[in-house]
Symmetry: C2
Subunit: 403 residues, 2 copies
Amino acid sequence: MKMTTVEEAEKLVLAQTRDYGTQSLPFEQALGYVLAENLQADRDLPPFNRVTMDGIAVKHAAIEKGIHTFRIKATQAAGDQPVEINELDECIEIMTGAVLPASVDTVIRYEDVEISAGQASLNVIDVKRGQNLHLQGVDKKQNDIIALSGQPVSPAIISVAASVGKTHLLVKKMPRVVIISSGDELVDVDETPLPYQIRKSNSYTVKAVLKQHHINADILHIPDEPSITREKIQHCLQHYDVLLLSGGISMGKFDYIPQALEESEVEKLFHKVAQRPGKPFWFGRHNNGALVFAFPGNPVATFMCLHRYFLTWLSATLGLPAKARLYGVLGKDFTFQPALQYYLQVKLQSNRQGQLIAMPVEGNGSGDFANLADTEAFLELPLEKSEFKAGEVFKVWRFNHDF
Amino acid sequence: MKMTTVEEAEKLVLAQTRDYGTQSLPFEQALGYVLAENLQADRDLPPFNRVTMDGIAVKHAAIEKGIHTFRIKATQAAGDQPVEINELDECIEIMTGAVLPASVDTVIRYEDVEISAGQASLNVIDVKRGQNLHLQGVDKKQNDIIALSGQPVSPAIISVAASVGKTHLLVKKMPRVVIISSGDELVDVDETPLPYQIRKSNSYTVKAVLKQHHINADILHIPDEPSITREKIQHCLQHYDVLLLSGGISMGKFDYIPQALEESEVEKLFHKVAQRPGKPFWFGRHNNGALVFAFPGNPVATFMCLHRYFLTWLSATLGLPAKARLYGVLGKDFTFQPALQYYLQVKLQSNRQGQLIAMPVEGNGSGDFANLADTEAFLELPLEKSEFKAGEVFKVWRFNHDF
């Protein structure tokens, strides 16, 4: 039986995107969510002819007529109502951010004038009409779209929202996710394991990655008992959009998960992918739309599949544009024989040619999670080859970053 | 007067790193903070000789003696106490994750045996002593350091913490930060500005960036009134570690901030940097250690200075290693005449040579914040040059990312 390839698996996963609707959040809380509405300018930007230097405002026609000394009629700060001049030899002392009064058209900065006894005299000859102004509507016109729906809410979007008075933002709802571990060998983090037990850690890792993507997932542990397994799985299928399992999907006698999924009418879309780590990855859907990503129990495999498949699915589900490919240069020769797509753990460095160098960090196989902490990405090595040479370029999958 | 260069400014800022001490957090909440202790293995990793395939466990000596059929004495799951054999022709049916019993030394996977009537017969000839095992202590020995102090707590570190039973993690304390805006032209986000007013937005942008770095900053607005300005500044200098100001530091008549800082005994370390945007950037310290980063009011300038200076300072203050430089290739010709270091807003793309291409996105000067939402980095163009050619490589400063 031909194993599912990584490309086929990705395609099958992406065929199951969902729409979980939208919600309105106070704009500051929307940081990191995906915007689900266009933001429009509520008025022109800038909303008025805005002064960009502290100095004096005059009518340029006065200078053209040879006037170089102006009586200071008033001082106008940012936020003040505009003050008009009545005579050509009058000026307004004016501050950055102020509205340009209608009776003047040019600003001369303090550095270029001499002020004494209520008069300002020009030090410069070259004064351009309209200088030191940011004119109304130059950036955007009222009702122009200034931020498009379908992008993550960044600090820059927060700024845009604040400036147009959007106190609430419509964002995409996140799926409800439960992270399920199984196996009687697992004890809790605060327990002291017996010699043949280990502590749960995968669930917390997955939860941390999801937290970085603004999903607050629940955690559930299922003991090795068939009826409890079935009951818990069925409960989760009714109450969550996505079940993320790690472990319990191999051929072991006490792996009750596959049977429970089958009995719960979860349709298998694929099982086993031609990749390492993560070969036993299982993916399926319930007829109510709930999805099951069942990752192998090995921590590095879970971590890889989570980034390679679940986050890719999440990004598509939230309507984000397909992520631009990131490529890196393999930093030293590497050999991998099996006909599997290999995900090599690498550190990334930038060289003076602007290239991203991906340097392999030797782990000792699947189980060594400490190694992941020293790396920042997987380099995707194609299954057709087994010899990979320094200088060859491959796809990079970074950890811990936004889409 | 020679203006402070970017390099000098950075050096002066980095001379003011501080140590705000440490705090203990429940390990899941520590995500994104900087680890302030080494994590050690509480026992060997793996803690026992761990079975890595479902199948049968035998003593290899039996195979050497020509035994190919084994009586199944018992089944041992992960998390079960080990079950020993007494005779060479016995085997244990055993599951992934289980402890290898002391009386056996080799695991043969289900795919390579035939099981019937309580007996398992080998399908294969080539069985290696010790196969399908992850031996005790191969990854780490008890008390080995498995995660070093001084790195951000990533999901991988969360996993390490969980696996060694660290329910709490010691992390670096973040500085207490207040973000201060000033100017009577500013109204709140939920207000409708009069024609000569605008809404506050800078403070929310800065707050959002800090939130991404796990700093929960306060926001304060100071009206254009000298005695209130002085009083508020003095209060903040006593109650915060860092004051981040945007605006109010120019030569304007109503900019009371410089005077208030002077009267509050804040020593100016520099004012004005040879850069655009952000030339009027002001930096100082109070004799109690409090720092004042006073950014220009222009939103893009504030954003640039925040990333280029404050986050660089924060990273050093938290004891993180200096960030590796990131370099990008300018995507098209660009000209910038003034003798200022220019921070060009760019989009980043990766090409098939593994190069990061930085493509300029045309804004219309300093005030257009909507432009920032379309870009992901600043490209740092040196002040000595004015013509920048496509294909030349420059430093990249990304937004919105961890250190």
